[in-house]
């Protein structure tokens, strides 16, 4: 009997930029970016919530734009830049958005948080002065079951407000 294992195609070499650093891996051509990140590169900060592109938990930035890593193949990111939540802040320093999430307790179980932060980050870059309703629409593709969203929106709103502060001080 022919099995998936027997029919498995040869691995291919993949190189791209992950959080500013060049990475290389041998991956199966059918592997999703999420599988490559989690299982091959150990980037477990990208979470799998549904694997069908609905919950947004696996959101990463591809050349700065949020995508569901479960819906794209690893080989499709060849030569491109992928950002996970570990690429948001710098070593030892939280990004203002991360600080706002802590200050507002915008995470409970935290499983949706990496994806939520990346979507919020991309959104605020393009919409520096959002209304609460605009924030709501921006994160509508990212499910959260713990918070009821209110504190997440608070944190994103506060983070946007902080950018306007010329002193650059944060919470």
């Amino acid at each position: 009997m022919e099995t998936a294992a027997a029919a498995a195609p040869e691995p291919v070499r993949l190189s791209f930029v992950l959080n500013g650093h060049p990475v290389e891996a041998w991956v199966a051509p059918y592997e999703t970016l999420l599988a490559v990140l989690r299982d091959t590169l150990g980037a477990t900060e990208a979470k799998c919530g549904c694997g069908e592109g609905v919950c947004g938990t696996c959101t990463v930035l591809l050349d700065g734009a949020p995508i569901n890593a479960c819906l794209i193949l690893g080989v499709q990111v060849r030569g491109r830049a992928v950002t996970t939540v570990k690429g948001l802040g710098t070593e030892g320093t939280l990004h203002p958005l991360q600080r706002a999430f802590v200050a507002h307790e915008a995470a409970q179980c935290g499983f949706c948080t990496p994806g939520m932060l990346l979507v919020a980050h991309a959104f605020l870059r393009d919409h520096p002065h959002p209304t609460r309703d605009e924030i709501r629409a921006a994160i509508a593709g990212n499910l959260c079951r713990c918070t009821g969203y209110t504190r997440i929106i608070d944190a994103i709103e506060a983070s946007a407000g902080m950018r306007e502060d010329p002193s650059g001080s944060t919470v």
Binding site: M1, T3, A4, A5, A6, A8, A28, A35, R38, T44, E45, A46, K47, C48, G49, C50, G51, E52, V54, C55, T57, T84, V85, K86, L94, Q98, F101, V102, A103, H104, E105, A106, A107, Q108, C109, G110, F111, C112, T113, P114, L117, R132, I135, R136, A137, I139, A140, G141, N142, L143, C144, R145, C146, T147, G148, Y149, T150, R151, I153, V171
Partner: protein
């Protein structure tokens, strides 16, 4: 309008308790460094998978696994015959009345779609998938029981050949309902239905198991209950002390990780292969086969006198348990106790039953039976108010329970029942009424109150332990076997210890969730964790402080009563210059052979089981009360409902961390709103139609408004610092509150959840044809 995080919530007599301290675990979570169950990796780790039944009811004629075993990369294929003890013994009532054996892997009979039949471990995902596809099962499909109503009919197929389909029948008898109905001026009788709901935590079930050199089977899994190590040991036929369960931070539980999920399966595969095995369930697997919230059918007959006082309530609750008991009997018991709501009712008769079916199993979910009944008892209050010409507020005010009153179980309420102020604050916080957004839109408002127990049923003699010790540098370690589901269960222990022992929170490390290395504290369920482990840490910290104070007093040359521990120092009250670092006190304790670590526990109040014929007796340690007020807009052309405002007020006794408390209330309110408006596990003759996140819908940020959490602190409760439990209470009130607001908007009251556009549109059409309006 919104509070800034630094704003004081209410003056607190404490230094740390009552402040919105940032949670240490949230700082980790925003950086993506938290290692959840599925993030764990060990060298040589195999992939574990489950072969699940296709049919909801079938006989298994033959299972063929030989070919799968020979495939490349396949390390093990296990069936029921390979499981040392292939049953989990359950005591469904906790009263030792009957024992029930649930198979780990089913061998001859399939009782629900997705039931585990075989296990596979292989080197890779692809090889594991190939092995699953190579397993052949010959089924003989059988008739099944697919709705609770028909489960007890004569001639109904039996889910278990050796017993009828009645799993449990709890009874509550208080007063004489016949007499009560005889003295009533108004009687309303209705049947309400709530639906099957999925927990839908974002983290699917996952775990890694491995065997240590000394033969200890370790399971690091997303679980609410590390105490399952004992059941796993029985399955593996090992001594209890040879199985260890570790719970990392969990990506949401809500009761769905209270029963075992991957643990027995991944443990079996690791035990058999002697290699580490990881098992991660897909979302689709989770939606298909994990236990859900019970659908309830609730027949309520409620009577009042002309002045709006309740005189009698007769209630019959029927729940679909699926094919195995799990926690169904306990869920139904909570429904029994909370069935008549937060009201004084002299004559009460309740029958609460759960029946076996061939539908997906049901078990614990946040609210645990006491939330479903909210939909019925609050809808009944609204109907009585309409019949009597009273306002919804007035009829409730005339019947609210008060401290010292007795529940229909005969037990007295021992702490504050602040329902009048809870309700008025919730209703007032709705503010100005919104204007309809278009000509076909109607705006309406409703509110609903609730009573929800916290803590385990008293006959379980609940207990939690904690160990607290100083390091020589004055930093502090807490060990307690709690599981942290995201509600701040670990962070709250830090806050309590910081308050009592004067160590700053950033100098405290807490170790949780390890059945071998942390003192057992019981699972995180039943809104018990702050109540139980919080009290355990409080007691342990106080006793440790009492042990060390004499040493500090001697060093400071002060009376013991004048010494305080604060800000990493011991100091003399009133003389802040007379102070010594806690590390100095620790060193002195060592010199004098005085312990600087302590283990202690907290034992919940316990009592004998209730009388089984009358339900009379002490049941739960205490209760939390609340009220939610909502505003909706209904589109009369489509039946679509938009939730415009949601206020949720609960008396939490004392808010240890106001932000965490608000978060619990907001999240619970939205979970309730999801059940009210959209969520539905759809089954067709036991076949699950909603096994995608694209078909099982939970609220997105666009579906719900900001939830305004109004935190009331009565200063009374049985948790640490007089806190009450708040995890489960916010889930119930949204169900009737939304239904009530729809009734207010368009004059139609729906008695079946969820309140979908289709359902409301049909009701509106029926009302348009009937006329006149108002006869609900």
């Amino acid at each position: 309008m919104r509070k800034s995080p630094g704003e004081a919530f209410r003056p607190s007599p404490y230094r740390i308790i009552g402040t919105p301290l940032p949670r240490f675990d949230v700082a980790d979570k925003v950086q993506g460094t938290t290692l959840y169950a599925a993030d764990w990796r060990l060298p040589g780790m195999l992939v574990g998978r489950i072969f699940r039944a296709v049919y909801p009811s079938a006989r298994i004629r033959r299972i063929t696994v030989e070919e799968a075993r020979t495939l490349p990369g396949v390390a093990a294929v296990l069936t029921a015959h390979d499981v040392p003890t292939n049953v989990i013994h359950e005591d469904p009532t906790g009263l030792g009345l009957t024992s029930f054996a649930t198979p780990v892997l089913t061998a001859e009979r399939v009782r629900y779609q997705g039931e585990p039949i075989a296990l596979v471990a292989a080197e890779s995902e692809t090889q594991a998938q190939a092995a699953l596809e190579a397993i052949k099962v010959e089924y003989e499909p059988l008739a099944g029981v697919f709705d609770a109503d028909s489960a007890l009919e004569p001639g109904a197929p039996r889910v278990h050949e050796d017993r009828n389909n009645l799993l449990i029948h709890w009874k509550l008898r208080q007063g004489d309902v016949k007499d009560g109905f005889g003295r009533a001026d108004v009687i309303v009788e209705r049947t309400y239905r709530t639906q099957r709901v999925d927990h839908a935590y974002l983290e699917p079930e996952a775990g890694v198991a491995w065997v240590d050199g000394d033969g200890v089977v370790n399971i690091r899994a997303a679980t609410q209950v590390i105490e399952h190590f004992r059941e796993i040991a029985q399955i593996l036929h090992l001594p209890h002390n040879k199985v260890r369960v570790i719970a990392p931070f969990v990506g949401g539980g809500f009761g769905g990780k209270e029963d075992m999920t991957v643990e027995p399966y991944v443990a079996l595969l690791a035990w058999k292969t002697k290699r580490p095995v990881r098992m991660v369930w897909s979302r689709q697997e989770s939606l298909l086969a994990r236990p859900k919230r019970h659908p309830f059918t609730m027949r309520y007959k409620t009577a009042a006198t002309q002045d709006g006082r309740l005189v009698a309530q007769e209630i019959a609750i029927l729940a679909d348990a699926g094919p195995y008991p799990l926690l169904s009997p306990r869920v139904l018991f909570a429904a029994l106790v909370a069935g008549s709501g937060p009201y004084r009712v002299p004559h009460v008769k309740i029958d609460a039953r759960a029946v076996f079916t061939n539908n997906v199993p049901t078990s614990a979910m946040r609210g645990f039976g006491a939330m479903q009944v909210t939909f019925a008892y609050e809808s009944q209050m609204d109907l009585l108010a309409e019949r009597l010409g009273l306002s919804a507020l007035e009829i409730r005010s005339r019947n609210f329970l008060r401290k010292g009153d007795r529940l229909p179980t005969g037990e007295a309420l021992e702490t504050s029942v602040a329902l009048p102020s809870i309700t008025s604050r919730a209703v007032e916080a709705l503010g100005e009424r919104s204007r309809p957004s278009g000509p076909s839109a109607r705006v309406g408002r409703g509110f609903a109150c609730n009573i929800q127990p916290y803590g385990r049923t008293v006959w379980f003699r609940d207990r939690a332990q904690a160990w607290i010790g100083f390091e020589v540098d004055g930093s502090l370690v807490i060990r307690s076997g709690v599981t942290d589901l995201g509600g701040g269960q670990a962070a709250s222990l830090v806050q309590i210890a910081a308050e009592i022992l004067g160590v700053r929170p950033d100098r405290i490390t807490v170790h949780i969730g390890d059945s071998s290395l942390t003192p057992l504290a019981g699972g995180t369920f039943a809104t018990r964790q702050l109540y139980m482990s919080g009290n355990a840490v409080l007691r342990t910290a106080r006793e440790l402080r009492a042990i060390m104070i004499p040493v500090a007093a001697a060093l400071l040359e002060a009376a013991e009563a004048d010494v305080q521990f604060a800000d990493n120092h011991a100091s003399v009250i009133g003389s802040p210059e007379r102070r010594l670092a806690l590390a100095r006190i620790v060193a002195e304790c060592a010199r004098r052979s005085v312990p600087t670590a302590h283990l202690a526990g907290f034992q919940s109040a316990h009592a004998a089981p209730v009388d089984l014929e009358t339900g009379q007796g002490k049941t739960f340690p205490d209760y939390t009360f609340g009220c939610h007020a909502v505003e909706v807009e209904v589109d009369t052309e489509t039946g679509g409902v938009t939730l415009l405002k949601h206020v949720a007020c609960h008396d939490v006794g004392r808010a240890l961390n106001p932000q965490s408390v608000e978060g619990q209330i907001q999240g619970g309110a939205v979970m309730g709103a999801g059940q009210a408006l959209m969520e539905h596990v759809a089954l067709d003759a036991g076949v699950n139609l909603t096994t995608l996140f694209a078909s099982y819908l939970i609220p997105t940020a666009m579906d719900v408004p900001d939830v305004r959490a109004v935190v009331l602190e009565s200063g009374e409760g049985k948790g640490p610092f007089n806190a009450r439990g708040i995890g489960e209470p916010p889930t119930g009130p949204p169900l009737p509150a939304v239904a009530s607001a729809i009734r207010d908007a368009v004059g139609v009251r729906l008695e079946e959840l969820p309140l979908t556009p289709e359902r409301l549109y049909e009701a509106l059409e029926a009302a348009r044809q009937e006329k006149p309006e108002g006869a609900a």
